[in-house]
């Protein structure tokens, strides 16, 4: 069985950053990812990133994926693509599945950067063909060039909901409406404003009540909801759509962390069950680190910074603290702090705070 010094699970923004940083410091790093192409969700993000100052401001997500992959390559990270980590076993062993083959990979240190899965909500007809997660629609369009439908109802006005809606319009697909159960738009104002300017109604305090159709989606029923998210009688409206996109948040993909025996806590602000971790991203299991959405739902920019912290700290654990590793960690943590100070960092900050107050032992 092969044994690597550091194994990184997940080749998205967090995992790629962790791998590149640790390899740059001198660690022998293997990066395992279940897709053919590295980059995680970045490869479908055709929009430009923005922020106050941080890295990659003005760069499209898909280009960030390329930059990060190249950097990992420069530092001689060994990449196992199209390979799923299907188990974490006692004795620091991972089970890897690649096509029909299964093999084991040992590790000394591990960064788990598996990201998140899309949530769904219950409504009649939500299993009809034509009901998608918004992320899935984005992948179909932007990665595979497949048009998911002709007229779409978007459920959820967080960043994913509003960005994907705009990209649907760019692809020549009609967006009938965006419904948002909360009384206000969740995503960045700039994205929402673009939609409104193009005539897409964003209906706050509204939700989807049912998907219509026998074989596939032919319409949707939406309605107004009250302050406790209960449908308001007499406000039902029918929309003629063939696609319903559900963008109602993400849940950390924490299975490996459970298997590792990490202390897990349910923190709603972070999207569900997350592993307790210290300020250096190390979990209650020594040598096992988290970074990115699996440590709490945030965004690509924070995922990259958490990845840098986790990668550098994993290297320090294997070797020793150096000026270089300390600088990487300090600057990444400083930037994380500044991103989270913004209005959209409030939820994650609160979640991370709550997690920090949990007792790991």
């Amino acid at each position: 069985m092969r044994r690597a010094q550091l194994v990184v699970v997940g080749g998205g923004p967090a995992g790629l950053s962790a791998a590149a940083v640790a390899a740059g410091l001198g660690a022998e790093v293997m990066l395992v990812d279940d897709n053919e192409t590295l980059g995680g969700q970045l490869i479908k993000q055709t929009h430009k990133f923005f922020g106050d100052k941080g890295h990659y401001c003005g760069v499209r997500g898909v280009d960030i994926a390329t930059i990060l992959s190249e950097r990992a390559g420069e530092h001689s990270v060994t990449v196992l693509s199209a390979t799923s980590v299907v188990g974490l076993y006692p004795g620091k062993v991972l089970g890897l599945a690649n096509g029909d083959s299964f093999r084991k990979l040992g590790f000394e240190s591990l960064v788990i950067a598996t990201g998140a899965a899309e949530n769904s909500i219950p409504f009649p007809g939500n299993d009809l063909p034509g009901v998608y997660g918004a992320g899935a629609v984005q992948t179909l369009m932007n990665v595979y060039g497949v048009r998911p439908g002709r007229r779409v109802l978007m459920v959820g006005s967080g960043n994913i909901g509003v960005i994907v809606s705009y990209q649907l319009l760019q692809a020549g697909i009609d967006v009938a409406a965006v419904v948002e159960a909360l009384p206000a738009v969740g995503g960045y104002h700039v994205h929402a404003a673009k939609l409104v300017r193009l005539g897409v109604p964003i209906l706050t305090s509204h939700t989807v009540k049912a998907a219509l159709g026998a074989e596939s989606v032919t319409g949707a029923v939406i309605c107004r909801v009250d302050g406790r998210f209960r449908p308001v009688a007499g406000t039902d409206r029918r929309l003629k759509v063939d696609t319903i996109c559900v963008a109602v948040g993400l849940t950390p993909l924490a299975e490996l962390l459970w298997q590792a025996g990490c202390r897990m806590f349910h923190v709603p602000e972070l999207g569900g069950h997350v592993a307790w971790h210290d300020e250096y991203m190390e979990t209650s299991q020594p040598g096992i680190f988290v970074a990115g959405d699996v440590s709490g739902i945030e965004e690509a920019s924070t995922a990259m910074l958490e990845g840098r912290v986790a990668g550098a700290r994993a290297w320090e654990r294997l070797n020793r603290r150096t000026r270089e590793s300390r600088d990487i960690i300090d600057s990444a943590r400083l930037e994380l702090g500044s991103i989270r100070k913004g209005p959209f960092g409030e939820k994650a900050t609160c979640g991370k705070q709550r997690l920090a107050e949990c007792v790991p032992a």
Partner: protein, 378 residues
């Protein structure tokens, strides 16, 4: 602290507690079942659902014949589909001593009217198309053995308890058993309740030694770890549970309702304790063993693996009956056969608790028996 009363408090929400509780409730007992975690969270929910009467211990054979009768009526009894299917069990003999042992066992089993016979290697191949018969001398085959779904059976019994006016409390750990003059008085729980009751049934499986210790009693049980896996669903390949007793053998069956194969093996050496980690050794070894027996399975993917406890006794037979503390009963130490024994032992233990006398005497399973000759068809 709230205090309540019951006729019988049952400790453990696996098949044993659920079935016994059901038959007790049916006989008019007020039953309160306490489960530390969730129903089937112990060995029941981790077993592969095999059911057979092919044993060497005569009481086990008798109890299992009764259990199979109960399983075959369970859909109607519980108003729940329990996926009972009589696909048989085929124990394979790859050497002469094993064949002789099976022939001996068959003599005993047939005495109790069991429809079991030793069939040739060729006949094994007919019942299990695609079986690798290299070195196979034949097998002990009983077509009335079968399978059922442990979750549906257990949840069906639990629903029955509630329907009959009993209570099922999950997330409720038993923290103490109060006795006076060597007699049960009450049971204390982690939720702060105290249940006053004349009877307590310890059906806590791998944890039943801890429950007994609360009343100052020791029972000779020793859990060890068994691992299992489930494959993706495929078309029906064959009916019986295959059992290969070689030291590098295994046993597996295809679930009738779903098409998944489920199986496990007994590790050599045993892994004692309640550790329930799934291992990389098992996930590499078990498929190899399955494919050796049925090469076609090489094309089938594994979905998932997990581990559970065999709660072993010194002779590999259950420990069921009264304890030295009056009112405290035990039904445990199922030695890997709790699910299949469940319905019959549930009914018999309910008879013992409610009427003082089970319709099949359980003396040979009594906690104070001499632990002698071991069950050979483990």
């Amino acid at each position: 602290m709230a205090s309540r009363t019951a006729d019988t408090v049952i400790v453990g929400g696996g098949i044993i507690g659920a079935a016994t509780g059901y038959y007790l409730a049916k006989s008019g007992h007020k039953v309160v079942l306490l489960e530390r975690s969730f129903p089937c969270s112990g060995a029941t929910g981790r077993c592969i659902g095999g059911i057979r009467a092919q044993f060497t211990h005569d009481l086990s054979i008798r109890v299992m014949i009764e259990s199979i009768r109960l399983f075959s009526e369970l859909n109607d009894e519980l108003g729940e589909t329990v996926h009972w299917h009589q696909g048989g069990y085929l124990f394979l003999a790859f050497d002469e001593p094993r064949k002789q042992a099976f022939l001996e066992a068959i003599k005993v089993q047939r005495n109790y009217g069991l429809d079991v016979e030793f069939i040739s290697s060729a006949e094994c191949g007919q019942i299990v198309p695609g079986l690798n018969r290299e070195g196979l001398l034949g097998g002990a085959y009983c077509p009335t053995d079968g399978q059922a779904d442990p979750f549906h059976v257990t949840y069906g019994y639990l629903a029955g308890i509630k329907r009959l006016g009993g209570e099922v409390r999950v997330d409720t750990e038993v923290t103490g058993i109060n006795t006076r003059d060597s007699k049960v008085v009450s049971v204390l729980t982690s939720k702060g309740d105290e249940f006053f009751c004349p009877n307590v049934l310890n059906a806590a499986g791998a944890w039943s030694d801890e429950i007994c210790r609360m009343a100052g009693i020791e029972v000779p049980i020793a859990p060890d770890r068994h691992e299992s896996l489930v494959t993706e669903a495929v078309e029906r390949l064959f009916d019986p549970m295959l059992v290969d007793y070689r030291s590098d053998g295994c046993y597996f069956v295809q679930h009738i309702g779903t098409g998944h194969f489920v199986g496990c093996y007994t590790p050599v050496p045993l892994v004692p304790g309640r550790n329930m980690d799934a291992t990389d050794e098992f996930i590499t070894e078990m498929p190899r063993r399955m494919v050796r027996l049925v090469p076609k399975l090489g094309q089938v993917k594994v979905l998932r693996q997990w581990a559970g406890s065999y709660c072993m006794t010194p002779d590999g037979s259950p420990i069921c009956g009264r304890t030295p503390v009056e009112g405290l009963y035990i039904s445990s130490g199922m030695s890997g056969h709790g699910f299949m024994f469940g319905p019959a032992l549930g009914k018999l233990m309910a008879e013992l608790i409610a009427c003082g006398k089970p319709s099949i005497p359980l003396d040979q399973f009594a906690p104070d028996r001499e632990f002698g000759k071991a069950e050979a068809m483990k």
